[in-house]
């Protein structure tokens, strides 16, 4: 199948290095200490953060740092064929682990010993790149909750189809069976914390695809920064100063 | 066997014994006062074995079974290496590889008072003495010798700790010095602390020496005296 037309356009009309429209909204869940909605094209996820709060299960309490927990789930209606997936299947267990460890890297957990931070992310609409969208949403939610962080982790994916590196794959491109590289970076430190890839790709091409995904992450980081700045201004305005 | 004629009334001495073996029958003995060590128990009139190992005897009347295991059963007056697990207001909780955590009272230090309680972070390694080991209670430790002096007891800074069997740590503590330590000690300078609970701490000025010593000791677990010597010499040759 042709994923990039001879004119250099993708199935949804984007250029190979073009990202989908992104949109973010802070404070989507009023009960949560921090929350956000993040959209990348038709992919839409919601994240809620609770904490730092008392550790629920005393046996997990750590005397030198905070416990971070993460739960990833996909709403039944998020995909095209609606089906009831068992909770805690292998894929979501893995993604929960990956998101948790990625967020853990940027949260300054040693400042909040003997406490617990819960991150809940749920996919409302899935159209490729859910993992990245979840991480971006979680970052925003953590920032909204005012949890001390090292940097704003952002994530983006890239693929390689028809001998062209493509940024931010949608569902059709994702399920084409080509390589899918998801990168999560700490943009200010320029370090890679999350890197997942599957399918088959020679090392030198992988480097290009990874580079592309990293650029995507940086673009998202800029957007997230703007959103946070806007949010802060709003808060300031409401305080009346 | 000489030891047999020298006062023991069993012919199991220095033999391998297995759980269930009856080594002594008190009813046939003239002098019924004996002292039992680890691995033996009294069952009515007979003394039977409860751990596989070698039966040892020491004059005039001490019997015990020597065996090697990974876990440690606390005994009073043993010197052990412990890991601090948590601190409470009156005790430190210490892991000594025993069936339960041991308590190290915060005052069990030389000149210890309420005012100068030492600070240990979780995971610190300490060289301590078992003071009380009563079944059903957590063993009690102390950082002083019997006369209340600190001696060598206390926190071990830096270095590397590895775990081994209790048999190996007893071998390392035996006199005369075991061949592997003897050989290594002639060429290399290092500090070592051996806990009877199967933990050994090694420290040297360079990490490479520490690693060599630690690995030589771990390897000598299954070697005889002569083999230990050969192994240690080979190792030293390779280094120099």
């Amino acid at each position: 199948m042709e994923y990039v037309s001879p004119e250099g356009l993708r199935s949804d009309g984007r250029r190979p290095m073009e990202m989908r429209q992104i949109r973010a909204e802070i404070g989507a869940v009023s009960k949560a200490d921090g929350s956000a909605i993040f959209e990348m094209g038709n992919t839409k996820v919601i994240a809620a953060v609770y904490g730092p709060r008392e550790v629920q299960n005393r046996s997990q309490q750590m005397s030198d740092k905070a416990l971070v927990r993460c739960e990833y789930s996909m709403a039944n209606f998020s995909t095209g064929d609606r089906m009831r997936k068992p909770k805690g299947d292998r894929r979501s267990t893995e993604i929960s682990l990956v998101i948790r460890q990625t967020m853990e890297e940027c949260i300054l957990t040693h400042l909040m010993p003997r406490s617990q931070i819960d991150i809940y992310v749920q996919v409302l609409q899935a159209d490729g790149g859910t993992r990245s969208a979840c991480i971006n949403a979680a970052t925003l939610a953590l920032a909204d909750a005012g949890i001390p962080m090292l940097d704003l982790v952002t994530s983006c994916s890239a693929g390689y189809l028809n001998s062209t590196p493509l940024l931010d794959l949608n569902y059709v491109e994702d399920s084409a069976g080509g390589p899918d590289v998801t990168v999560g970076i700490l943009p200010k430190l320029d370090k890679v914390t999350l890197l997942q890839m599957d399918s088959k790709l020679p090392i030198d091409i992988l480097e290009n695809v990874m580079q592309l995904a990293t650029e995507g992450c940086k673009a998202i980081a800029n957007y997230i920064r703007e959103i946070l700045l806007e949010n802060t201004k709003q808060l300031e305005y409401r305080r009346g100063s | 066997m000489e030891s047999k004629s020298a006062g023991s009334s069993t012919n199991f001495v220095d033999q391998l014994v297995y759980p269930g073996d009856v080594v002594l029958d008190l009813s046939t003995m003239t002098n019924q006062t004996i002292k039992l060590g680890g691995g033996l128990r009294q069952d009515g009139d007979v003394i039977s074995v409860m751990k596989a190992g070698r039966l040892r005897f020491s004059k005039p009347n001490k019997y015990w079974v020597e065996s090697s295991q990974k876990r440690y059963v606390p005994h009073a007056e043993d010197s052990v290496l412990g890991i601090i697990v948590d601190s409470r207001s009156d005790n430190f909780l210490v892991d000594i590889k025993g069936p339960t955590l041991a308590f190290l009272p915060v005052l069990a230090f030389e000149g210890g008072t309420r005012r100068n309680i030492p600070k240990f972070e979780v995971g610190a390694l300490i060289y301590v003495r078992v003071v009380k080991a009563i079944p059903g209670m957590n063993p009690e430790l102390s950082c002083t010798d019997a006369s209340g002096k600190a001696g060598e007891f206390g926190a071990l800074k830096e270095g590397y700790m590895f775990e081994c069997s209790t048999g190996l740590s007893r071998m390392l503590l035996s006199t005369p010095t075991c061949p592997v330590l003897d050989t290594l000690g002639k060429k290399l300078s290092f500090e070592i602390a051996v806990g009877l609970n199967g933990r050994v701490w090694v420290n040297a000025s360079s990490p490479s020496t520490t690693i060599i010593v630690a690995n030589a000791l771990i390897n000598s677990e299954v070697l005889s005296g002569v083999q230990q010597k050969i192994m240690a010499e080979k190792l030293l040759q390779r280094v120099q």
Binding site: L206, Q211 | K157, Y160
Partner: protein, 298 residues
Amino acid sequence: MEQRYANCWRLTVNEKKFIESSLLSELRVDGRGSLEYRKLSIKFGKDNGSAEVQLGETRVMSFVSAELVQPYKDRPNEGTLSIFTEFSPMADPSFEPGRPGESAVELGRIIDRGLRESRAIDTESLCVLSAKLVWAIRIDIHILDNAGNLVDAANIAALASLSTFRRSECSLGGEDGQQVVVHPPEVREPLPLIIHHLPVAVTFGFFSNENLVVLDPTYHEEAVMTGSMTVTLNANGDVCAIQKPGRQGIFQRVIMHCLKLAHVKAADITTKIIDAVEKHNIQREVQKVKRHSNCFTD
């Protein structure tokens, strides 16, 4: 109250500091260099498709079995490949009995992604009757002893057992040509799987000091390290999967450097697996000859 301290293995501050400081001078506690692999040995069981891998002190067993099932609706002409992991508390007290924990799931997923997404096994040749019957290959991975780097050991075990697995041949017969006949191994020689390439997993450990990278971390190093990356690639240098699940951030050039190192190591391990498999196959042939001669002499 003390229950939470029960039975967990503890790392002392001394060990933690020592492991890191000796790594600074390119030394590891077990005497290896920082980019050296532990001794690898691959043994095969008596049955086809069982392998036991020992990597240093880590021991993993893998067993492959197959059964005829109905294929998935969206892939009527393809056999299936599934991986099950068993982390028994026997191998490491921190493994909890019952439901597979996070680490078991992650390990399974890494191996699964490396094998399946890169199409290492030809699944189309496992089809017996389109949309009706296909072979379902199941890999069971049991951890016998955990001394660090389970992923690599489990992956090698999976590859070795897949390479020696034989499935019964089957053919279509009956009046309508739709009847499936499974030939027992005595009648027709069982068939090996068609394996296109061997994706080998190579794991790196990272530490808070960003200049430190180790290959094949041990149990102690795993407790100290602040991040890890598993690269699965084949001998041709195609990357089949990467798993760096968050934690310690590293520079992109370090990742590229690791990929190149992993390529060399993967080629190395691939030859080891192939050699072991060949040796095993020869042995198996020899054994067959013996059996026949015994029949005659009896």
